[in-house]
């Protein structure tokens, strides 16, 4: 048993980052190191890395993400330590996790989202076929679609602020039909990041990750030239065009050649509405964090 836990602890530490204001670039650089692995979902993580001061509005989401990590789990807070020190602490936490034990308990109470007890002759959630809250949640209902007019179910949810494919802090309320965005509003604006987060290599790495190139993205983060095939071509043309900054593909080209991009303020919901989820995420990643923040600060977008 001892040897098994030692074997486990030699695996890269799976870290789910909760990035606070001003720490995006630090965390991205940290997680591109070997020995650490950025998990895309808390289910794949054992360590929650909380970087910076998470504002009060994001406390409940942070608790949710924390609780979604399987047990045993450890939270590592990153205040103002050096990256080396924090990497050592994460490694220590991972060894602790591998040694077993209970780990941290839940932060949220163990209550279902809605009280539910099967009712009716067949044990359903409420009256009729679609009524009630079976297993604690209501069911999705049909609504108009914006593409082909086939009115099927609309799924509404708030994504963020710690979604790995969205800028840290940004909360979008999205209504999806299939994987096409029918409606989107900005609930909370992203956390402010220093100019460092707009660095071309980091921006390129964010897009490369969405294109399935984790390895080249790590190289780009480390300041090396990413080795990939069809990196620019994989981004569909005409995606997320912004006045003066071209489309997503142009911006990726510029970042790959090391030129920073300054985009004029786009209206985020207008850019995302009607796009497929994969396109929408590419559009967001193709805008520098400062531009997204500016766009969300304008009154009509809020």
């Amino acid at each position: 048993m001892m040897s098994l836990s030692r074997l486990m602890s030699r695996a890269p530490a799976p870290v789910f980052p909760a990035i606070g204001p001003g720490r995006q670039a630090d965390v991205e650089r940290l997680l591109s190191r070997s020995g650490l692995r950025a998990a895309a979902t808390p289910r794949d993580a054992a360590i929650l890395l909380v970087a910076g001061d998470i504002p009060g509005t994001a406390a409940a989401p942070l608790a949710r993400v924390h609780d979604q990590i399987p047990r045993p789990r450890v939270t590592v807070s990153w205040g103002h330590d050096e990256p080396d020190a924090i990497a050592a602490r994460i490694a220590e936490a991972w060894r602790e996790v591998c040694a077993g034990g209970e780990g941290e308990g839940d932060r949220l109470p163990d209550e279902p989202p809605n009280k539910w007890k099967g009712v009716g002759p067949n044990g359903q959630g409420g009256k009729g076929m679609m009524g009630g809250v079976p297993y604690g949640r209501p069911m999705a209902m049909t609504g108009p679609d914006i593409r082909d007019g086939l009115q099927l179910d609309r799924y509404t949810a708030r994504f963020g602020p710690f979604a790995p494919m969205l800028p840290p802090g940004l909360v979008l309320e999205v209504t999806l039909q299939g994987d096409v965005i029918c409606d989107v509003t900005v609930e909370t604006q992203p956390f402010a990041q220093p100019a460092d987060a707009d660095a071309p290599d980091l921006c390129a790495a964010r897009m490369l990750r969405l294109l399935g190139l984790a390895g080249p993205a790590d190289r780009a983060t480390a300041g090396k030239k990413p080795r990939g095939v069809w990196m620019r071509g994989a981004v569909p043309g005409g995606l997320g065009s912004v006045d003066g900054a071209g489309d997503a593909r142009d911006r990726l080209s510029r970042w790959l050649s090391g030129t920073p991009v300054t985009a004029s303020v786009p209206d985020i919901p207008a850019l995302l509405k009607g796009a497929e989820w994969s396109e929408a995420m590419l559009i967001l990643a193709s805008l520098p964090p400062s531009a997204i923040l500016r766009a969300c600060q304008t009154p009509e977008a809020a």
Binding site: K127, G128, M129, M130, G131, M141, T142, G149, L150, Q151
Partner: protein, 101 residues
């Protein structure tokens, strides 16, 4: 003996398929019943071909044609459902509303 077993199985599939096709309220479930009946037909054809017809190639061709019929039924059936759903969308949502009460 084997043939009898196979044919009884095929018959049972046809029976269940018929039950499904007649009893289900929604058109989509009705298609399931039809597919099940065709499944029974396929089983019977395989059995006859293998055990009673001495493996004449037409038997295999027949089985392929049954499968083609399934594919055609599936494609046209669902295309019709899409077309109807699109046309009578208001009605469909209305009926959903009635059910929701």
């Amino acid at each position: 003996m084997t043939l009898t077993i196979v044919l009884l199985g095929a018959t049972a599939l046809v029976g269940i398929g018929l039950y499904g096709a007649l009893s289900q309220q929604s058109f989509v479930m009705l298609m399931m019943g039809l597919e099940l009946m065709l499944n029974g037909a396929l089983l019977a054809i395989i059995g006859f071909w293998s055990l009673s017809l001495g493996g004449m190639p037409e038997g295999q061709l027949m089985a392929i044609i049954v499968m083609a019929v399934m594919a055609v039924e599936l494609a046209i059936g669902f295309a019709l459902i899409v077309a109807v759903y699109r046309k009578r969308q208001a009605d469909v949502t209305e009926s959903i509303d009635t059910l929701r009460q």
